[in-house]
C-alpha cells in the first residue's frame, strides 16, 4: 500500500540519475578550464596585481551563495504550498551546499580585503548582509535537524527560508543603496559589462562550473536523504511490528 504523503519519488530519482553524470562531468571540465585560464592565461590587474585572481573564486561563490538560497526558498515554497515531500528534501539537500559557497565567499572576500582595504573585515552593508545570509543558512540547517520527527523539521525550516528570502535583494543592491567599501556590480550591470573579456571569460567559466557542481552535489545529497528516510521508515515499521507482537504475546 502506498500513501500520498510519500508520493513515491521514483520519477524524481529517475530524472536525477539521468542528470547527475552530466552535471558532474561539466563541473569538472568547466572548473578545470576556469582555473587554468584564471591562474595561467588572464593578466594580473594593473592596480591589484596578482591578488585579483582571488576574484575568480570570490565572485562565482558569491553568486552561488545567493543562487543556492533562491533554490532553497523556492523548493521550500513548493513543499509548503503543494505539500510535495521531495521539494523539502531538495531544500534540505541544497542548504549546506549554499552555506559552503557563502563561507567561501566570506573567506576569499576577507582574504582579498586584507591587501585591498587593509583589513580582514568591515561592518559595511554588503559584507554584513552576506554574513546574515550565512546565519540564515545555519539557522535553516539547525532547524531542519532540531526535531525527532523529520516532517516537522522540514516544514519549520521551510517557513524560515521563505521569511529569510527578504535578505537576497538587500545583498544584491546593498552596494547601490548604501555607500560601501565594497565595489558595485560591474559584470552583472545592465548593458555592457565594464570588465575586460580576458577576465570575463574565466569568471564565467568558473560561475558555470560552480553551478554544475551545485546541481551534482544537491542530487547526491537528495538521493542519500531519501534513502535514509526509507531506511528509517523500515526500521520503525520493524520495531513496532515486534512491539505489537510483544504486547499480544
Amino acid at each position: 500500500m502506498l500513501l500520498h504523503r510519500y508520493a513515491n519519488p521514483t520519477r524524481f530519482l529517475k530524472l536525477a540519475n539521468a542528470i547527475l553524470p552530466w552535471a558532474a562531468g561539466a563541473a569538472a571540465i568547466l572548473i578545470g578550464a576556469g582555473l587554468y585560464y584564471s591562474f595561467g592565461k588572464s593578466p594580473p590587474d594593473y592596480q591589484q596585481g596578482e591578488t585579483v585572481r582571488i576574484m575568480y573564486v570570490h565572485v562565482p561563490s558569491a553568486w552561488m551563495a545567493m543562487f543556492s538560497y533562491a533554490v532553497v526558498a523556492v523548493a521550500s515554497a513548493v513543499g509548503l504550498i503543494w505539500k510535495h515531500p521531495v521539494a523539502h528534501v531538495v531544500a534540505i539537500a541544497a542548504a549546506p551546499v549554499g552555506a559552503c559557497f557563502t563561507a567561501i565567499c566570506l573567506a576569499t572576500g576577507s582574504l582579498w580585503g586584507k591587501p585591498m582595504w587593509g583589513t580582514w573585515w568591515v561592518w559595511d552593508a554588503r559584507l554584513t548582509s552576506v554574513l546574515i545570509l550565512f546565519f540564515l543558512y545555519l539557522g535553516f540547517i539547525a532547524l531542519a535537524n532540531a526535531f525527532d520527527d523529520a516532517s516537522r523539521g522540514e516544514r519549520a525550516s521551510a517557513i524560515l527560508a521563505l521569511v529569510g528570502a527578504v535578505n537576497l535583494p538587500i545583498i544584491k543592491f546593498s552596494v547601490d543603496w548604501w555607500n560601501t567599501l565594497h565595489q558595485p556590480a560591474s559584470v552583472t550591470k545592465m548593458g555592457m559589462p565594464s570588465i575586460h573579456t580576458s577576465m570575463l571569460i574565466p569568471l564565467l567559466l568558473m560561475a558555470l562550473g560552480f553551478t554544475a557542481l551545485f546541481v551534482a552535489l544537491v542530487i547526491v545529497r537528495a538521493r542519500a536523504e531519501l534513502a535514509a528516510r526509507r531506511i528509517r521508515a523500515l526500521r520503525s515499521a520493524r520495531i513496532h511490528r515486534d512491539a505489537a507482537e510483544g504486547v499480544s504475546a
Binding site: 546574515i132 519549520a156 527578504v166
Partner: protein, 221 residues
C-alpha cells in the same frame, strides 16, 4: 474578535500573577546596560556616543529571554491544541499572543529605556526619538520573536535555537533604530530611519502571524 481579547486578557493575567517574564527582561536589560560604563570606562562623551547602540542591543538581547516560554507553556499543557481547533483563524490567535507579549515585555522595556539612557548619559535631545523608535522596534521584535518561538516549538534546545533564528532577522531593526537616535544626536533628520522601521513593522505584521500559524499547525499535528 472576542476570542482575540480572551487570549490577550488570559496571557496578561497569567503574566501579572507570576511576574517572571517582564521582570526577568527588565532586570537583564538594566544589568547588561549598567555593565558598559564599567567596561568602557567612564569618559562621559564616549559613553554617550555608544549609548544608542548599547541601549538597542541590550534591549534586543533582553527580549530574547521572553520568547522561550511564549508558546511552550500552552504547547506542553495541551492548550495549544485547543487553540488550533478553536473556531477562529490561527493567525488571529497568534496575533493575540503577540500583542499580549508586547504588552508584557515590550512596554516595560519602553518604560525602562529612558532611565538607562540617562545612566549612559545620552543627551536628553535624543530621548524622544529613542522612545519613538523603541516603540516600533519592540513591536517588530515581538512579531519576529513569536515567529522564531513558533518555529522552534518542541525542538531540542529551543532557547538558543530560536535566538539563532531571530537575531539575524532583527539586525535591520537594530541598524535603523540606533541609526535614528544617532542621526538626531548628530543634528540630522531621523524621518528616513523611522519610516523604514514602520515599513518593517508593516511587513512583519503581514508575514509573522501567517508564519506563526503555519508553524503552530505543524507543531500540534
Amino acid at each position: 474578535m472576542t476570542g482575540f481579547m480572551a487570549i490577550v486578557v488570559r496571557d496578561l493575567r497569567i503574566a501579572l500573577r507570576q511576574l517572571s517574564d517582564s521582570l526577568m527582561v527588565i532586570v537583564f536589560f538594566v544589568i547588561a546596560a549598567a555593565l558598559f560604563p564599567f567596561g568602557v570606562g567612564p569618559e562621559p562623551n564616549q559613553l554617550a556616543r555608544m549609548a544608542p547602540g548599547v541601549l538597542w542591543v541590550t534591549a534586543l538581547l533582553a527580549a530574547m529571554l521572553s520568547f522561550d516560554r511564549l508558546f511552550q507553556a500552552d504547547y506542553e499543557d495541551g492548550t495549544l491544541e485547543l487553540l488550533a481547533v478553536a473556531p477562529q483563524p490561527l493567525w488571529l490567535t497568534a496575533l493575540a499572543k503577540i500583542c499580549a507579549h508586547w504588552l508584557i515585555t515590550g512596554v516595560p522595556l519602553l518604560v525602562a529605556s529612558p532611565v538607562i539612557a540617562i545612566m549612559l548619559n545620552l543627551e536628553p535631545s535624543g530621548l524622544g526619538v529613542l522612545m519613538a523608535t523603541m516603540a516600533v522596534g519592540t513591536a517588530i521584535v515581538s512579531l519576529v520573536g513569536a515567529l522564531g518561538a513558533a518555529l522552534a516549538l518542541g525542538s531540542r534546545r529551543s532557547g538558543v535555537l530560536l535566538s539563532l533564528l531571530i537575531l539575524p532577522l532583527l539586525i535591520p531593526v537594530l541598524i535603523f533604530g540606533a541609526g535614528a537616535v544617532e542621526a538626531v544626536l548628530g543634528g540630522f533628520e531621523a524621518r528616513q530611519q523611522i519610516l523604514l522601521l514602520c515599513g518593517l513593522l508593516l511587513a512583519c505584521l503581514v508575514l509573522c502571524p501567517w508564519g506563526c500559524a503555519v508553524a503552530l499547525r505543524a507543531a500540534v499535528e
